[in-house]
Every structure is written in structure tokens, then in C-alpha cells.
């Protein structure tokens, strides 16, 4: 099976500012990969390039087998994107929201109907379908956003802080759903500020000022650096790099 994401020396410059500086990584099909970094480290810029929304300055990259320079249209159909800030229409019901997003992907009505039913069942959304999305508790809205991002059956799903602000019980359930997706071959590319969430990933990378400064399975990184947990590891690494940059 080819890797889901391969990037090599990927770089993006905005004028004199290098937002993403020669990053390289490979994410295997069905892997859950955590893409971490402080605010402003360049994560969003990198993801926008991977999603075919922003043309890189240099380097190489393939997402779902398609070239990020030349085949961004094909990439857009291959991937899904779910964010904490994912826009659901609060005045529409859960079902209407799903119908709307499915229509954007030009799914046939009969196909769309089946997929909405299927996803609602697997994500436990069925009883909420007729309710307006706005007043739903945050945890349910996030599941609804996940369902919307899965309607076109993306091979690769980008999750941008998927569980920000969600309570631990909900967060654990959400991750069970994500593991289920990974088991069925969907590749998950996750950004998060929360290290307990990062520990759910099979591998993580840590980005700082445009560069990837560390990469590997969470518990291996913790052991290698002799830190009590990922949180301490992350903070110490970033502070050390910031300090070096100032010296």
C-alpha cells in the first residue's frame, strides 16, 4: 500500500518570511499521525499545502498519490477536513447540515441518503438528526462535523484540533470512533494543542518555527528525552529552541 502522505523538503515562503522550512515526513495508510507545534509554528500553512489550498515554494509532496503542485483538484476529492471551527449551520437540523455538505460533494441523492444513515448510526447521531445543530452540546456538534467530513468517504482525513474544549468522557468516545476509521483504512492527520490527545496518535511530529524538530511514537519520544510525559517534553523542547534562537 502506498503511503498516504509523502512530503520531502516542503517549503513555503511569504516574501522574506519562511513559514514552512524544508519539512519531510511520511504517513502510512491507516496511520493516525499527530502534527504538533506551538501557535505560529507553521502547522496551518503546511496543512493548507497538503490539502491543495496553497502552492508550495519548493520541495515535493504527494497526498493520496497525487502531486500537491499539479493535482490539487484530485487531492481535494480524496481528503476530508474537520476542524473545531468547522462551520455547521446552527439553524439547520443535523440532517440538513449533512445533506448540505453531501450536496457540495455532488453525491447522488440516493447515495447521500444511505451514507447519512450509515454515518449517523456508526457515530451515534441518529436521535439528533431532527434537532437544530446550534443548541446541540459541543461534543455532539463535533461528531456531526466529523460525519459531514466523512460523507464523501475521504481516504485521508485532516483533523484540526478535533476535540478542543470537549470533556474527557466525550473525548475518549470520539477517539474510539477515530480508531475505528483508521482500522478501516482511513489515514488520520491530526493537529492538536492537547498532549493527552496527541498521545492517542501512533506517531507525532513537533514543529517549531517552520521546521520539524522531533518525530516518532509518543512514548518512545518521552523515554528518549527522559521526560515524565509528552506535555513536559513538548514545553521543554519548544522553550529550549526559543532560547537558542534568542542567543
Amino acid at each position: 500500500m502506498p503511503a498516504a502522505v509523502i512530503i520531502d523538503n516542503l517549503t513555503k515562503r511569504f516574501g522574506p518570511f519562511t513559514a514552512v522550512d524544508k519539512i519531510s515526513l511520511t504517513v502510512e495508510t491507516g496511520e493516525i499521525f499527530g502534527f504538533l507545534g506551538a501557535n505560529g509554528a507553521g502547522k496551518t500553512t503546511a496543512i493548507r499545502m497538503l490539502c491543495g489550498l496553497l502552492l508550495p515554494t519548493s520541495g515535493h509532496g504527494r497526498v493520496g498519490g497525487f502531486d500537491i503542485f499539479k493535482e490539487s483538484d484530485k487531492i481535494k476529492k480524496t481528503i476530508g477536513y474537520m476542524s473545531q471551527k468547522f462551520s455547521l449551520y446552527g439553524d439547520l437540523t443535523a440532517y440538513e447540515n449533512l445533506w448540505f455538505y453531501g450536496s457540495i460533494y455532488q453525491l447522488k441523492n440516493s447515495v447521500l441518503k444511505d451514507r447519512i444513515n450509515e454515518l449517523s448510526e456508526s457515530l451515534g447521531l441518529t436521535e439528533f438528526l431532527k434537532q437544530k445543530s446550534g443548541p446541540l452540546p459541543l461534543g455532539w456538534r463535533q461528531r456531526l462535523a466529523l460525519a459531514a467530513s466523512l460523507l464523501h468517504r475521504p481516504q485521508i482525513l485532516f483533523l484540526d484540533e478535533p476535540t478542543g474544549g470537549v470533556d474527557p468522557v466525550f473525548r475518549r468516545k470520539f477517539w474510539e470512533v477515530l480508531y475505528g476509521l483508521a482500522d478501516s483504512g482511513t489515514t488520520l492527520f491530526v493537529t492538536t494543542h492537547y498532549m493527552d490527545e496527541a498521545e492517542y496518535c501512533r506517531r507525532i511530529s513537533i514543529m517549531h518555527r517552520g521546521k520539524i524538530i522531533e518525530m516518532g511514537p509518543p512514548h518512545e519520544l518521552i523515554a528518549r528525552h527522559g521526560k515524565p510525559d509528552l506535555q513536559e517534553l513538548f514545553i521543554d523542547l519548544i522553550r529550549e529552541k526559543d532560547k537558542n534562537a534568542q542567543d
Binding site: N39, G165, E199
Partner: protein, 302 residues
């Protein structure tokens, strides 16, 4: 000295109690964390503590004043940062501070001194002229906190103040809270993140309007009933199903590992056979201390 004392308070909406017979006590200089699932009643509780909602039953005393009878005395002593605290995005950092200072009638040299101190601990000084809308998430939260500190409140109530903030900024935010505590502030903070709960003096697990348990973070983690082991394997979905079918075991995946939970009285040795059937060699697993999240989830599942 007890600064915050809520005794047996109940707040009902349309017949349904959002907060029920809840008691909370915090001493001067103490930081108490409140953690619970969505809808547990944390925000309602906070609004009651700030006097924004009237309680149906019970008693709230803040800095020795009764919230029902002496609210005017309490108001200047309180700082409340709600979940979506509004900064004015078109105003600069300094203008936002000036605005909140104006609400408390703080001006002139007094304002100058206070701003200098807030800039010092928040690190926002170099950004004083930057518009609030152009700050990073972490800086916005620090500015929101600063706005709530302009009148030197003795009691600070913070409703999920770090949502969406990166780990380094979150750590800085908590270092600020620690300094405030040291200088005598009493802080009540809600958070969905257990790494933050671990930094509190005491924490309360809240569920359906009630306090389930409370204690120091170490006491809470010690309330977990059972043992946790870590196996460094990547199980197939089928293995996971079979693992969870083994009597006396629950498990969850954790990145490139699996955590296996067994009862306190259970001996892992007795599970050698069934575990090896799903690819887990008990000679290769290691015990891990249960964390706050394990305890929290166990309480919620009861």
C-alpha cells in the same frame, strides 16, 4: 481563612436542577479546579458564585459577605472571566485595559502603575499598541485575564480560560495563576484538561449538578480502583474486540500502545493465557500509574 464558601446551593431551571446541593470552600491563596462533562453545571455554578444568577437554596459567602444581602461589597472583590470573554478586537491591548479600568473607575497614576504591573507578568508590554484582534490565542487569553485583574480582585473565577491555547502559552498562563495565588488571590477555575487539574491545590469532579468527589490531585488519582498496564502492541480491530471480551478486563488504545485495566483484587498472572491469545505477553507489559483522567472516567461511568 475561608474566602469562598458555598453551602448546599441549588439552582433550578424549569424544574430541573442545574446545580444541586453543591458545597464548595476555598481558602485565601487556594486554587480549586472544577472538572466535569458538558452540561455538568459548571457555568451555572460560576454564575451563581458571581451573583449573576440568584440561587434557589443554600448560602454563598464571599470574603465574609453574604451574596444575597451584601453584593455591593462583594462586586469590587471579584473577577470573572467567562468562557467567551469579549475583548474589543479593534481596540489595542492598552485600550482594552483602559476600557475595563474605566468600568472600575481606575484612572491616572493608579492606572499607570497597574498597567505596568499587568504588562510585566503577562509579557504583553511589547504588544501594548497591537490590536486585540491580531493577538495569538494565548495572548488573547492573557489579555482577557489582565482585564479581569485591573481592579485587584481577591477572588478570581475562570471558566475554561485556556481552550484553544498552545501548550507553552497554557503553561505560561498557569504560571501567572500560580503567582496570583502566591500573592493571596483565591482562584476557582474550570477546565476539561487533566494536566491543568494536576496543577491545582484541590479539584472537584462535578456531574449532573453535584460534586462527585474532591481532593488534592494526588488523592483523586489514588481513588482509582484497579490496576493499569501498558502493552506496546498495535492490535488488529479483531484483537481489540476479543481483548474487551475477556472477563475482568477493560482496555483502550493509546497511540502505539494499549492500556489494559484490571480489578484491584485481580492478579495479572491469572490472565496470562487469555491475554496471550490476543498477542499480549504479560512478561512484556509494564504497570503504569492510573492518572486523573482514568479516575474521572471511572467516576462518570458509575
Amino acid at each position: 481563612m475561608t474566602v469562598v464558601q458555598a453551602y448546599n446551593i441549588t439552582k433550578t431551571y424549569g424544574g430541573k436542577p442545574a446545580v444541586e446541593s453543591f458545597s464548595l470552600k476555598a481558602d485565601k491563596g487556594e486554587l480549586v479546579a472544577l472538572v466535569g462533562p458538558d452540561g455538568a453545571g459548571k457555568t451555572t455554578l460560576f454564575r451563581c458564585l458571581c451573583g449573576l444568577l440568584e440561587i434557589d437554596r443554600g448560602e454563598i459567602m464571599l470574603a465574609g459577605f453574604d451574596i444575597k444581602k451584601e453584593f455591593d461589597h462583594i462586586k469590587p472583590l471579584m473577577g470573572y472571566m467567562p468562557q467567551n470573554f469579549s475583548l474589543y478586537p479593534d481596540l489595542s491591548v492598552e485600550e482594552n485595559l483602559d476600557f475595563y479600568a474605566g468600568l472600575f473607575d481606575i484612572r491616572g497614576d493608579n492606572l499607570k502603575t497597574k498597567k505596568a504591573r499587568l504588562y510585566e507578568f503577562s509579557g504583553l508590554g511589547p504588544f501594548a499598541k497591537r490590536r486585540a484582534g491580531r493577538l495569538s490565542g494565548g495572548m488573547k487569553q492573557k489579555l482577557a485575564l489582565s482585564c479581569n485583574l485591573i481592579h485587584d480582585p481577591e477572588i478570581l473565577i475562570l471558566d475554561e480560560p485556556t481552550t484553544g491555547v498552545d501548550p507553552v502559552s497554557r503553561r505560561q498562563f498557569w504560571e501567572i495563576l500560580k503567582n496570583l495565588k502566591t500573592s493571596g488571590s483565591t482562584i476557582i477555575v474550570s477546565t476539561p484538561y487533566m494536566d491543568e487539574v494536576a496543577l491545582a491545590d484541590r479539584a472537584i469532579f462535578m456531574y449532573r449538578g453535584k460534586a462527585m468527589t474532591e481532593g488534592t490531585p494526588a488523592q483523586l488519582a489514588a481513588q482509582f480502583r484497579g490496576k493499569v498496564f501498558r502493552a506496546d502492541i498495535l492490535p488488529s480491530p479483531e484483537d481489540m474486540r476479543r481483548l474487551n471480551d475477556i472477563k475482568g478486563i477493560s482496555s483502550r488504545r493509546f497511540g502505539s500502545t494499549v492500556h489494559v485495566y484490571i480489578g484491584t483484587a485481580e492478579n495479572i498472572e491469572n490472565l496470562r493465557q487469555p491475554l496471550s491469545g490476543v498477542g499480549i505477553d504479560i512478561d512484556k507489559i509494564s504497570p503504569v500509574p492510573p492518572d486523573l483522567e482514568d479516575t474521572f472516567i471511572q467516576f462518570m461511568e458509575q
